[in-house]
Amino acid sequence: MGTQLLGYLLLGNVLILSLIYIYIFKIRKLIGFQLGMSISSVSGGLIGIITGVILIYQFPLKFVTVTIITTLMSMFVGAIFGALFDYQTLLVGYGNGVMTGIMAPMIGAAAKGSLPFLLFLEGVFLFTLILLIISAKRT
């Protein structure tokens, strides 16, 4: 499998997530804090898992750096999704992002670079994002 392809996959995921961020930013007044907590924890956790697995597939010799970058990224994403609503949802997204980001590169290293596992994770990611949009639209 080409290394370039995995990098484009990660870029595509980040782009999809930023489009959803813009969409939720427009309707953020309509969403209550209960759904806000769910949205911030789900988005931080999912982008943490995807980033960790793809980066450890690409650079298996740099475990420490990959763990630190993944943790920082999923912390940041959870925090900015939570900051749309409230300060307390920011704390929820931050805590979930820390735990998931630390765990994700270990999963990727234990999977030994298998392609079906990555496809399964992508399927889970897209399915959860569709659920997120539906639940944000119907409130």
């Binding site: 820390v98 735990m99 765990m103 234990a110």
Partner: protein, 151 residues
């Protein structure tokens, strides 16, 4: 290897200071705020402390000790406001301590996760980097929680 005990002491000190500040102002909180404090604080603190304890002992003993300790820490943070948020604190304590034990075991013996063998030369260096990073993470989290008292 004695610097690990210094990191453990530092993390416990930060956790105690935060608990003391929160305990003084516990009459001001709402129930939702208490639940969120229990989730975030117990998760991050138990993650970092169990990772550091895992560096010093054997795998089974450290797992046994840290899971019991982190359940107690989560219950203390959960019981600040009402008794309803004890469950959230205990759950996050268990999850965080199991995950920290996993990370510590992988850093100590990289062949568990089928990482390359060249990591065995730099185990101490990786331990030092993860210790510094974990202590920074605890400090950032506690400053966020302290800042949320004023918002």
């Amino acid at each position: 290897m004695y610097w690990i005990w210094f990191f453990i002491f530092l993390n416990c000190l930060v956790a105690l200071i935060t608990y003391r500040i929160l305990f003084r102002k516990r009459r001001l909180f709402s129930e939702r705020y208490g639940m969120i404090i229990a989730m975030t604080c117990s998760g991050v603190i138990s993650l970092i402390i169990s990772m550091l304890v895992q560096f010093t002992m054997e795998v089974q003993i450290a797992t046994f000790l840290t899971v019991i300790c982190c359940v107690i820490v989560g219950a203390f943070f959960g019981a600040l406001v009402t008794f309803q948020s004890i469950l959230a604190g205990v759950l996050n304590g268990i999850v965080g301590s199991l995950m920290g034990n996993m990370l510590g075991a992988v850093v100590k013996d990289p062949t568990i996760c089928s990482l390359p063998v060249s990591y065995l030369n730099t185990v101490e260096e990786n331990m030092l980097i993860f210790g510094v990073f974990g202590t920074l993470l605890t400090c950032i989290t506690m400053s966020l929680v302290y800042f949320s008292l004023k918002v």
